[in-house]
């Protein structure tokens, strides 16, 4: 590979999704089969170290996109290019290297954690599963990452159930980072948190992104919040992307009604706030 190829590679987006489609089928042997398109013809791109926010209301299909990108589900059609490989159709065995590169953090981390594990055990688990070294090494790496995300070392052996909501989210981030991923998919990772906890986690995510050169795919229903974190925003409605572009463009000049309706809460608050304080605010 010459220097030309290297230059071309850095201009390539880290994640590129083309025509992604996922269907669900209801019914079986004795029932009529009904096909439901959860997601249809999704195109999106995220340059390396940037953040794309995929926003939409419940049922728009955004979580399905997340699951397809992390290959928790296999898409029915389309391509998912990670680096130079299309992982959409890969078999499970071939996916192993990519599983470490793409990690997911969900809403309410506690439901994704084994309640019998301690904090340290939860974070080191992925290393043990992928056999990245002896048990002692794995534990050491886990503790390092935990201190980076702000979980104190004396809490390492406490059960995950003893942690508060924000702390558990930190553990989830630590667990995701421990395999040194390149892409982090955050599926409503900020929903259900107190305002101050949300702020802490957002700041942590921004720090971590800079420190580890991560690319983020953020899934959320809160467009105004995403505007403060993302570079580009894609709006989903009923399984397709209805508007997509740099965040400044979407915020100042939304064209699709769905985008406008997602921006509504912020607009209402701005209006009421101004009313309440008198026009000068």
């Amino acid at each position: 590979m010459g220097s030309d190829a290297r230059v071309a590679k850095s201009a390539q987006p880290f994640l590129r999704v083309r025509s992604l489609t996922k269907r669900y089928v209801r019914g079986g042997v004795l029932q009529k089969r009904i096909h439901v398109d959860a997601v249809r013809g999704i195109d999106l791109e995220i340059p390396a170290c940037k953040t794309l926010a995929l926003v939409g209301s419940s049922g728009s299909g955004k979580s399905t996109v997340a699951r397809c990108v992390t290959r928790l589900e296999r898409p029915d059609a389309g391509e998912i290019w990670v680096g130079g490989t299309d992982i959409a159709g890969l078999a499970n065995r071939a996916l192993l290297t990519f599983r470490a590169a793409i990690q997911m953090i969900c809403q309410d981390a506690v439901t994704s954690m084994n309640p019998r594990f301690s904090a340290a055990e939860t974070v080191e688990e992925p290393l043990l599963i992928q056999r990245r070294g002896a048990a002692k090494q794995c534990r050491q790496s886990a503790l390092e990452i935990m201190s980076e995300v702000g979980v104190s070392a004396d809490w390492a052996n406490r059960s995950v159930m003893e942690f508060s909501g924000g702390q558990r989210q930190r553990l989830a981030i630590a667990r995701a980072l421990v395999l040194q991923p390149k892409l982090l998919v955050l599926d409503e990772a900020l929903s259900g948190l107190d305002l101050s906890t949300e702020a802490e986690i957002i700041n942590l995510l921004l720090d971590v992104q800079a420190a580890h050169s991560l690319t983020y795919l953020f899934i959320s229903h809160d467009l105004p919040l995403m505007a403060r974190l993302a570079d580009t925003i894609a709006v989903m409605c009923n399984g397709t992307i209805v508007e997509q572009g740099p965040k400044s463009q979407l915020l100042s000049n939304p064209s699709h009604p769905e985008t406008k309706s997602l921006l509504l809460p912020a607009k209402i608050f701005q209006k009421k706030y101004a009313e309440m304080l008198g026009v000068s605010g």
């Binding site: 209801r26 004795l30 029932q31 049922g59």
Partner: protein
């Protein structure tokens, strides 16, 4: 509806499978009815062969099985070699006796267990709950045979109730009321054994289910809206707690014919149990299969009824296939 049809189809397939297996197993058991005869020097080998041919025992397996299946469908369960009479009427008289016993026992068990369970769940932690827990632990730990023998001994010693059999001598001369009394008295012992050995399990299951439901947020929410305690228990808690209980009830129904073998043998109740036991020991093939098939029929029917009840009681299953979203 389609849900029920699928269940029905599955039930039918199950029955066919069970009968085939039965047939096969009884074939595989060593020895046949006629082995003893052969050992008897007074009967000539030719007679034995002729008898075997007469009963169709020299035909290949498949032929015997298909001939039998054909006749079963017609309602003819074949011929019992040992009793020298058609199988069906034999089974039926005995089955009626068993059903009388187990039916009464099951009815009593559920009649007592459900309200008791609801009561202990509602008074969780207090003395009633604790006392009931101790009693049910004891009942669960003691094997059925021990309960049977203990009660039998008690009955014989105290002569409170007559023991053994279903009817006294001279039964025919009793008046109708006298006959009922007689049977009822003789039923006390075996029914008591059955009730005592199965009530604890039912009570625990229903109690656990009600307890779990009482913790659910919607009960608190309803309480906050001013719904009365009784209404909460009966209209809000029990219907949801019913789910696991209904499955258990289906299981009770399923074992109506097969669950009382031990008790019948020990207390001498002339039910299906002792009949099948004897038939198995004497390799009376068709009687055994007939009996097992009848039990299997009840088992499958019991589970099917449980499915129907679940469908009737839980709208989530009923409408599960048609979400508004």
């Amino acid at each position: 509806m389609k849900y029920l049809l699928r269940r029905l189809l599955r039930a039918a397939l199950l029955l066919i499978g069970v009968s085939a297996l039965c047939f096969l197993f009884t074939e595989m058991a060593p020895g046949s009815f006629f082995d003893e005869m052969r050992l008897n020097p007074q009967i000539s080998p030719e007679t034995v062969t002729a008898l075997r041919a007469r009963y169709g025992l020299d035909q290949p397996l498949i032929v015997r099985y298909s001939r039998w299946m054909a006749s079963v469908v017609r309602g003819d369960f074949g011929y019992s070699i040992a009793y020298n009479s058609p199988v069906a009427p034999l089974l039926w008289t005995r089955a009626k006796n068993t059903l009388l016993l187990t039916g009464t026992a099951t009815f009593l068990v559920w009649l007592i267990a459900v309200p008791l369970a609801a009561w202990t769940a509602a008074s969780h932690g207090r003395w009633l709950d604790k006392a009931a827990a101790v009693v049910s632990s004891v009942l669960i730990s003691v094997p059925e045979i021990v309960i049977a023998i203990a009660l039998l001994a008690l009955a014989v010693r105290t002569r409170l109730v007559p023991v053994g059999g279903m009817r006294s001598l001279g039964f025919q001369e009793f008046s109708t009321w006298g006959q009922i009394q007689d049977i009822a008295q003789r039923m006390v012992l075996p029914t008591a054994v059955l009730v005592l050995s199965s009530i604890a399990v039912v009570e625990r299951h229903v109690r656990a289910s009600v307890l779990e439901v009482l913790q659910m947020p919607y009960i608190q929410a309803a309480r906050g809206l001013g719904i009365s305690r009784t209404r909460l228990l009966f209209r809000y808690a029990l219907p949801v707690a019913a789910n696991p209980a209904i499955s258990l009830f289906g299981f009770s129904l399923a074992t109506l014919l097969s669950g009382s073998l031990l008790v019948e043998v020990v207390t001498g109740w002339p039910g299906l149990g002792p009949l099948i036991l004897d038939a198995t020991l004497s390799r009376d093939l068709l009687l055994v299969i007939g009996g097992v098939l009848l039990s299997a029929l009840f088992m499958v029917a019991g589970n099917f009824i449980a499915d129907v009840l679940l469908l009737a009681f839980d709208p989530r299953i009923r409408t599960g296939e048609s979400h508004a979203n």
